[in-house]
Homo-oligomer: 136 residues x 4
Amino acid sequence: MGKSEVKYCVDFGGPIAVFVQIENQVQFAIASGKYKTGDTLPSVREMSSMLNVNPNTITKAYRDLEVMKILYTRRGVGVMVADRADKICRASILGMVKRHLRDAVAECIASGISAEELQKLVAGTIGAGCLPYQPD
Amino acid sequence: MGKSEVKYCVDFGGPIAVFVQIENQVQFAIASGKYKTGDTLPSVREMSSMLNVNPNTITKAYRDLEVMKILYTRRGVGVMVADRADKICRASILGMVKRHLRDAVAECIASGISAEELQKLVAGTIGAGCLPYQPD
Amino acid sequence: MGKSEVKYCVDFGGPIAVFVQIENQVQFAIASGKYKTGDTLPSVREMSSMLNVNPNTITKAYRDLEVMKILYTRRGVGVMVADRADKICRASILGMVKRHLRDAVAECIASGISAEELQKLVAGTIGAGCLPYQPD
Amino acid sequence: MGKSEVKYCVDFGGPIAVFVQIENQVQFAIASGKYKTGDTLPSVREMSSMLNVNPNTITKAYRDLEVMKILYTRRGVGVMVADRADKICRASILGMVKRHLRDAVAECIASGISAEELQKLVAGTIGAGCLPYQPD
DNA sequence: GTGGTCTAGACCACG
DNA sequence: GTGGTCTAGACCACA
């Protein structure tokens, strides 16, 4: 059936660059096993028209992930998931996510939020829904 | 003694725009009571030479804060702290900081970090040193 | 008894320069007969402390009105109302006021307000309270 | 034919700041339907060279309109007309224009112009030519 | 190509 | 002295 079960979406106008959003979503998809080593990603033009995004933006995202050894390109064939990409993605995501958490906590402390308050805020947030993408 | 007890500093080359850093520091200073309603901020030129930043950059920061009703300008006189600026600043800072925390926690959850692990990460971060500025 | 029955006020933060507001109020006062030829105006420092305005600003206003032959200065005595000042003021005010009316009407027309609508707006405004100063 | 049917012009040296003139003209263009929601405005550089105005000046005008929710920016793409911008513009223009009219009428009354005289003045002004820009 | 940021320096009105 | 405006030109991230 269909080409890919992975759903992509971008938030134009948000503070996060579109190419970063795409990179993160691809990484999340690989980390969670939606793509396996050797799988083919949506072609640049496919992804481009799907998301209404400039092809150059997709190219940039794929290129970045190639540099990170997460993807590789076979000319005339497409962009595929590299060997051990899942490990790389998990590590990359974990690093990013922990860094964001650390920064956010530091901000809270600097703003005068007490440790107890902070723990409550965190606990309160855990229940809410979360989108599988976002940031650097 | 000196003109102002508030200390400003900027990180050139960092990912955060200089004018944003200044806006945040002013907001923190007001939120923490270092400036009161009616106080005059360092003049554009004064701040400019203090931080080795172009006057236009200071002007931009001051204007943004004026739009947020935190500062107001008296022509030929200077820039002063508006009424209720402290409340606005506190709300602004708190909103930003909580939003960042929420996003970071959401990312962690989406990345498969467990609630216990998360709490440990937060607790471990609280001990680290934090600079009293730099958000968004 | 007191020195002057004329009430002055300034709107800092408004779009109209303080010295212009003072000039207009003096002109209105003279045009309406509150000051007669030969009357002494509040001294610069008196006016300055009354309005919490920089003395230079008062000086500038008086100087402008002197150029317009509305006031004249007697060194060591004060600033007094010149001969025929009332006529000059009435003409000056009338000119200014008509110019403003013309501009405002032109704007309305340019904004697509119909002639009937405009006449209604004008009629509706006539009832409201008006402050005896403002402009240019 | 050309890229845009909207004609822009600026009066250097006039009392109205160039960036304000541009803001007003854009607002008039949107209010009159010359731009629709989603339309792209002339790029900063395009507008800049069209009007012989510094790019920074255009940027300032566009940013102000962005704050007013009339425009929004897509990085690397351009500046476009926001949703409901037409309503905002019409309200903004109408408010400004009515305020000016109200102030002008108030001045007239305060200057001793009678209601009949005032109506005659207004009627007499309606005939004159008006440029479709220039407020505040 | 787009806009975002920053610098350097000018001139102005205002106080 | 203050801020407001504008110019000229640079470098950057993004699409």
